[in-house]
Symmetry: none
Subunit: 415 residues, 2 copies
């Protein structure tokens, strides 16, 4: 049966707005994916009585309660004490966890201190969940038909713990019905235009399938959702709808599931045995970072020249000083020479070159902040486009990268 769930995050640093609670959103998404309905998300203080009060209230509304935070080795980490008092049990030392903690420090050639040792003491009624990334164990409580799951607040400890151990336990414990999603990744079309192109498609969707638009910078994920319901083959139903989408907007769809542009262009390059390099100025290495975030990118990526100063454009990329003098850094002529220079200096079949003004300062006559030239270099042809982005520095850089990768994709598609 599909349970109702509440998500609790503990942390004073959250309540004073210092730290963003990203864990709760992530957990909400994970739980939605297995058919669990989240009815409330709360952020509460590092105080034992506040934690106990929140557990008590949530237990009236939900049968699954996740709690992140408050499991560290310092004095303001009170979650364990709160659970001990809430369930009125004693603490006991878990030997497996104690060995895990000792091993964590040995592996890093560090000494363990007593506050770390105490992290192996857990409420007697819990099942420990081992922490592969840190010292604090997670805790699973199952009392009065309500499951409470306590996990570390540090995202890179919590997420692997949830994905590797907790998710499956929840599926088994609650025998959740499956919610099925199909994600279709699009780039280069704004959400409102996409929705207009798909309004007829949306009207004709079967009742069992819901559509959601999940916009990001320069991209929109279309998500189709269907819930299993005795007998209906929802997966075929979803696949049919996805095929329809491929026929309505073929040019904007670049991938499915969790495909990213950088992964997709990587697959295209690898499949055709082609190589890529980049020449970046205003994006400062961000495009290179995205490309190399894909494991195995060394199969097709030779490298990049980040030409933040003009001398680097001249010396490393072979941009002519006459070109810079006549047209300036942020020009079609310069970005085209950067693209050519990347291919020849870095010995690649293709290149992405970018020259622009990310902001906040740096505008020039006729070139406001957000003016960006993007070029895609190929052996026999360089394709350059001028864009005007209107956001803050970080967003302009990200939008430039997404646009550039999508331009490369279009070139690779038409080989």
């Amino acid at each position: 049966m599909n349970p109702k769930a509440e998500i609790i995050a503990i942390g004073d640093e959250l309540l004073i707005g210092h730290t963003l609670d990203s864990n709760s959103k992530w957990l909400a998404e994970m739980l939605a994916g297995i058919g669990v309905e989240v009815v409330r998300m709360s952020i509460i203080p590092d105080q034992i009585d506040a934690i106990i009060r929140a557990l008590r209230e949530s237990s009236k509304r939900a049968s699954l309660i996740t709690v992140t935070g408050g499991l560290g080795p310092t004095l303001d980490d009170l979650t364990k004490q709160a659970f001990k008092d809430y369930f009125k049990v004693e603490l006991k030392t878990d030997e497996t966890v104690l060995n895990d903690i000792k091993g964590f420090f040995t592996k890093r050639d560090l000494e363990m201190i007593s506050s770390n040792e105490r992290q192996a003491d857990v409420p007697a009624n819990c099942r420990v969940i081992r922490n592969s990334q840190g010292t604090a164990p997670g805790m699973w409580f199952d009392e009065d038909d309500i499951v409470y799951i306590s996990m570390p607040g540090v995202p890179f400890e919590m997420k692997p713990m949830f994905e590797e151990s907790v998710l499956q336990k929840i599926i088994e414990r609650f025998d959740t019905r499956k919610i099925h999603h199909r994600k279709v990744q699009t780039a280069g079309i704004a959400e409102s235009f996409l929705a207009e192109s798909l309004s007829e498609f949306e009207d004709k969707l079967p009742d069992t399938i819901r559509l959601a638009y999940l916009p990001r910078l320069g991209q929109v994920t279309i998500r189709l959702t269907a819930t299993e319901n005795d007998g209906t083959d929802v997966i075929s139903l979803l696949e049919t709808q996805v095929e329809k989408l491929r026929n309505i907007i073929p040019e904007h769809i670049f991938g499915f599931g969790d495909d990213s542009l950088e992964k997709v262009i990587g697959d295209m390059l690898r499949e055709k045995n082609l190589t890529l390099s980049t020449a970046e100025s205003c994006t400062g290495g961000f495009i290179s970072h995205l490309i190399t975030s894909i494991p195995g990118s060394s199969d097709y990526y030779s490298g990049s020249i980040i030409s933040y100063k003009d001398t680097v454009k001249i010396n490393q990329l072979g941009v002519k000083s006459e070109t810079l003098n006549a047209h300036g850094e942020v020009s079609e002529e310069t970005v085209v020479e950067m693209a050519q220079g990347a291919m020849s200096s870095l010995h690649s079949d293709f290149s992405i070159a970018v020259s622009g003004i990310a902001g906040p300062g740096g505008e020039q006559p006729g070139k406001p902040v957000g003016t960006v030239w993007i070029a895609i270099g190929a052996k026999n042809k360089i394709h350059a486009e001028l864009h005007h982005f209107n956001l803050n520095r970080t967003q302009n850089i990200e939008l430039t990268a997404v646009t550039a990768l999508n331009m490369l994709r279009a070139v690779l598609l038409h080989l």
Copy 2:
């Protein structure tokens, strides 16, 4: 008197983890700055009864309740109805708001529809807060000594509304005292070790000052907090404690407030008129991206060579093929030559060079995943260190970058 406050965000898209609630964090920071203690933050569904229940519960714990979301013109925007039912009042048309809405559409040459007109109908007991960026007015309720503030969920409508009108009203209504924070940024020491080094310091802290550890990858932020209290000069008190910290752990403190490593090394370079370049392989441009995320970095940063393939190391960085053959890419000899090559190819006073194995694959005999050589190049000396990182690809890359920037900082400190 400083009120206790609760922050509520309404939205189904938040509860399924599609959209991140950034409004609540922002409001929490704004309220903390004027001495308002936020005791809970909640996310609730777009349902009238859920909204009413949340208001009722919060009114028992807080005298200031902010609510964002649910004020749009579509069918799932139910906040106004919920307040009407909660206070048991009727709706009335606010003429000023109606004119604002008409003007909003006229200015954009658009036609208004009836659902937009209805946005001018508000509960009879509220004071409207005009919306300079959109059509939905905010609402201020003051009943039974509790203030409820309803604002749009769209950040670029809510933030100006709060900053221009609401913040001042709160200060006047509650005659608030100020809370003061000081943040001390450290790198290169684990949280538990830091807490142990500072345990005596923590014991000796005045009662009015609280300390919190906010860990991230490779860094820990120490936060000291004090509240103004008739006559005590809390700012001096805080500054005194910060000075004490500087004397206890001088080598680990790299900055204050919201300083990042990349900002701090940027300031150090600019101040001494020195320049920096990078040569990256396994970090793929991430270090360059961090350095260039700082506005004005073109003052001290010349650029980078991302040498993903060996040929790029040889051709662009002047690494000798004999060195690569004898010692391999991931070696002290290679990373030292990369650091030298960066300084000479990119004409900089200093360089950061990195060569390693980010994972998940790529291990070599004697060099497991996570083996990373980092070199800091200076005119007369190259300092290289071997590190073993044990996390996933993304984290290994981030931790390498943080470690490298901190190593550069140490070199710059001892000039």
